[in-house]
Amino acid sequence: MGSQTDASAARLERITELAERVTAPAAADVDRNARFPSESFAALREARVLSAGVPADFGGHGASLTELAAGCSILGQHCSASAMVLAMHHIQVLCIARHGASSPFFRTYLTAIAREQRLIASVTSEVGIGGDMRTSLSAVETTGSRFTLNKAASTISYGAQADDLLITARRDPSAPGNDQVLVLVRRGEFTLERAGVWDTLGMRGTCSPGFKLQSAGGVEQILPAFGDLASATMVPVSHALWTSIWLGVATDAVGRARTLVRAQARKTPGSVPPTALRLAEVTTKLQLLRQAIKGFIADYEALIVQPDGGLDTLSSIGFALRVNQLKVSASELAVEIVSHALSICGIAGYRNDGPQSIGRHLRDIYSSILMIGNDRLHATNAALLLVHKGD
């Protein structure tokens, strides 16, 4: 156990080092030009971070969710777009590792992720479904042992840069919208035609325009039972990793405010500057955010080691409420923290240049309340609370 903890700490140390050396210097340019953080990903591949979530049996690090979350948070302190791309990749890897390990095809694919440091993008969005991941219009069409799958995706983050895609679709053309499967297609098995541009307020480096997808492959590339997969892995892991990025962004914003307060204090030794009080307030919120994420991840990790993989609890209404509550509360808190940091930094924070600039943080963090809109999650929880007794 000790050596596993040491190995994990060493890997996180390496991410910290590369984030400071490679990710941070490129972050402003990635943001300004809405371009993919390619130098970050070259360094992450070299450090074998893309297979951190692949089990050790398949050549990865077998990292815990705690470790993956810490890595995303570290990266998020320097470039939220880099962190979001890495988080989305980790989510796809964990879905395959947890739900595909009984399939020879996916076992071989897991070793390919580790060997080739392949980057996987998610194709869950679709034109015409209004953002509900648990509904698809497009369907897998099977002939013998081959399938074709075409989908108009309203957004695919880093679609143009990904090696492989994991796509939701209806099981077959006669299946209802919520009877979904998850399909892996690899480079060479799909084409993407860009539909629109990605010119947004923040999270610009995730490069997430819409695409028209055409793909084909073998039926062994299909993971069945997306419903269980979504509630056991995709949704809780997404919320754990996204919130960890927001924690990273908030941590860096507060760090910038702290530097400013300290500089003010040095000018007037013996008296506490007024901004120090605001700093005390905002660090309390930051601590709250950190503990909410940590508590959720600890509970999740305790569930998935149960004999049934925790599926019984993970598919319950009580857990669905909790997963959504984490996302909603963490995003609201993160936005609050970053704007609080801006008010401490004042004009130095409002400037787009200089060490106290909070502009990019503020623009990026507003994505947190929109990516799976909080209103949608509140509406879901409102319905679930009609039957949940809280006993």
């Binding site: 648990r134 509904t135 099981r171 299946a175 209802p176 919208g177 919520n178 009877d179 419903g227 269980d228 509630s231 019984d312 609890t313 598919s315 319950s316 209404i317 009580g318 669905a320 879901t380 319905a383 679930l384 009609l386 039957v387 949940h388 007794k389 809280g390 006993d391």
Partner: protein, 82 residues
């Protein structure tokens, strides 16, 4: 009891096609019942049988088929001495 459950499931499950011939053990989620619709089914069952599903029963496996729902309802009726 299963007929009464079936009627409630059909009315509130918001299925896409015709489901009046659903087998007792057919997977309701695969037939198109969303988790959102399942909440409506739960509420209607609570009203029809004058029961309350405790939180431990509020999970996918309990509502995945008419048979599974019947087992849960029977258990609650038995607990209530009815």
């Amino acid at each position: 009891m299963k007929d009464k459950i079936r009627a409630i499931v059909v009315e509130h499950g918001r299925f896409a096609g015709n489901v009046s011939s659903l087998a007792d053990d057919a997977d309701l989620y695969a037939a198109g019942m969303t988790s959102h619709a399942s909440v409506g089914v739960m509420l209607a069952l609570e009203a029809a049988f004058d029961i309350e599903f405790p939180d431990r029963m509020l999970k996918r496996s309990v509502f995945e088929s008419i048979s599974a729902i019947a087992m849960a309802v029977a258990e609650l009726l038995k607990e209530a001495g009815r």
